[in-house]
Symmetry: C4
Subunit: 218 residues, 4 copies
């Protein structure tokens, strides 16, 4: 498991600073959206944090590109990193990886595998919902005819969207808000499908184990 | 299957009283929400039942903690019991376990496994829907601008939410109601996914068996 | 496959008359709901067809109960038939079985298995949607404040419900309509999950076969 | 893999012209719907493109029917082609096949299988959504009481429908629009189920591989 290429060493060392940077990015964005204080130095500070974090992501991306010794192929195989560079709000989704690597859970039996997938997809869905609610709220709150007046409404919208319930009492009406919403739907569906599917498999295994049956292959 | 540790013995003996207590809890809560009679001794009686049941859950939790001989680790491995202690409305979900242990179905072929998962997840979903409808109805009924005027509306809301249809004709508007609703969505989705997935696997097996094919591994 | 017990012989012989009866039942019900002509002998005729079909189901149920030589156990193991006896509108779901038995597809490879499950669940879903639309339309059309004014609205409602999209532009408002709707949701979800799951498995197999890979076990 | 029957040779040669024709068909249809310029020769030109593409599909269908040397059996086994002939808007869904055949990905490990299914179903869903939005928009835009005033609304409707969220803020109200919508729902559900299911399986494999576990059969 110990890969000693320069790229792997960089990734191990950069992991923690990047995670802190991504959390700082999310915090700064949340403060700017939820509690803006125009005309005070606070807003400038948070904007600075935002830019600094973004710069850090850029430096990390450039360094890994260089260390890989490749050209455009790097952009293709690291498409997820490329997207994250352009849309840094998605960065916090990597927090989940950190949580995992801190646990060093290796060689656990298969039942734990489902629990891990549920935890990973579940935490990702919560982060996606929070980030999506922030981004949509920023687009929607001052739009004419909006139904999303408070951040609480935006969170409620995110819940009803990620669960595909979709009541329709709170909906984005601006083009920007709808584009973000469509992206949240697409990601959320996949993540939720993973949670649901894993939970279903896990339940089958638990029931099979209880009666001493051979666990089904599913 | 016969585990003779003090903890297992306690669990076997406490099973029946706790189930009765949880059913009494749900009944008392339902009566208090649906047919309150303020100023009469009846409400005090039901409140007493509520508190007595809660006390019983607390005693059971404390006893199992002591018998386990562990410290904080107990809280972590028994997180489900800890949640149930804080939110006793979820307790009735354990009724399903009783139903199971009364049936003593052991060594049944695999087809029965799917039926059991469907039954377990289905009953849990029904209980969750009823409990959720009660709790949301309590939050919503007197809110200004509510669309949930009768308990029938609340049950209809629960149906359309658990099935992820989400018409949006009846929606919670208070913060409390929305928090409960988000919780119901999350649990309901997982349970319903389990029902759907198991039904799908079961159908595949039935069809495979009908034509004498080797049952697929799925 | 040739079971020569009296019960099995009865079932084989009764299959066709019962199917015709169930189709006649559905037709008569549809005509009574969609094109009622009060005061003419036509309505009496259709009502007669309805009752005759119902009687036939009753006779079949009684005959099979007698032939089985069992008592109340029959009601439990044949719970589906018992439900169909009480709610004859569900009877047409058996049409699917006929379609199957007419095809006599035995020993087909596994790919066909998925196709069969999709066909079975899909046809059942269509029948369920049509029957549900009829039943809900009967409850709703004259209710005050209804949004389901034509049978087309009812069919549109059934589509958006069975697919769990749930726009909410057309919703049942009466208690009777909502009870039927909840039932349609529950059945529809399971059937649709079966269609979706089988289609997903089938797609995986097709793609695996295309590149000569070993087909995955899923 | 090299099938040298006349039919297979025809299919290989016809692949590229047919793909170009189907893309031209979709473009012409999109221009006619979104930017009609009545009274100018442009509209006639696009209509001509539409008809020419349709003619090409007809010639291809006829040629393959002849080469197969069969009679009505051809219509049954090639039902998908028959549908495409009647509803040429579905033709672009074949673009996905081209994408695949250009990649010549053979003998890849199983992880790539899931990626391929996700890509195929995902691209199909996007094409279906775009085509469906176009067709519904054409039906709805001038209907009285419509909520689908711009093509942006139609795309937003397609997103919320394909993800089964179904807010209900934009819904088709005409019969034609609803029929197309029901078709989009049915196809979209199956495609999305395939994306979700494959993503779920893929995630399980990635997690299993990370810790050196035996990959689960699911």
């Amino acid at each position: 498991m110990h890969d000693d290429s320069p790229e792997a060493r960089w990734e191990r060392r950069a992991e923690m600073p990047l995670t802190i940077a991504s959390m700082a990015f999310l915090c700064a964005y949340a403060v700017l959206v939820l509690a803006p204080s125009p005309g005070t130095p606070w807003d400038d500070l948070w904007l600075l944090v935002l830019l600094a974090a973004w710069l850090l992501f850029g430096v990390d991306y450039a360094a890994r590109w260089r260390l890989s010794g490749r050209r455009l192929g790097f952009v293709r195989t690291h498409w997820l990193d490329t997207i994250v560079l352009i849309l840094p709000l998605l960065r916090p989704l990597r927090i989940v990886r950190i949580y995992e690597s801190m646990q060093h859970r290796r060689g656990l039996p298969r039942l734990a595998l489902h629990a891990r997938v549920i935890a990973y997809a579940g935490i990702s869905a919560v982060l996606l919902g929070f980030t999506g609610a922030l981004a949509v709220y920023q687009q929607e709150r001052d739009a004419p005819g909006t139904t999303m007046r408070t951040f609480g409404d935006a969170v409620w919208w995110a819940c009803s969207t990620l669960s595909t319930v979709g009541y329709g009492d709170v909906v984005p009406v601006t083009t920007g808000g709808r584009v973000i919403a469509a992206f949240v739907m697409a990601c959320g569906l996949a993540l939720l499908g993973a949670v649901t599917g894993s939970f279903s498999s896990w339940l089958l295994q638990v029931f099979a184990a209880e009666t001493g049956e051979r666990p089904p292959e599913t």
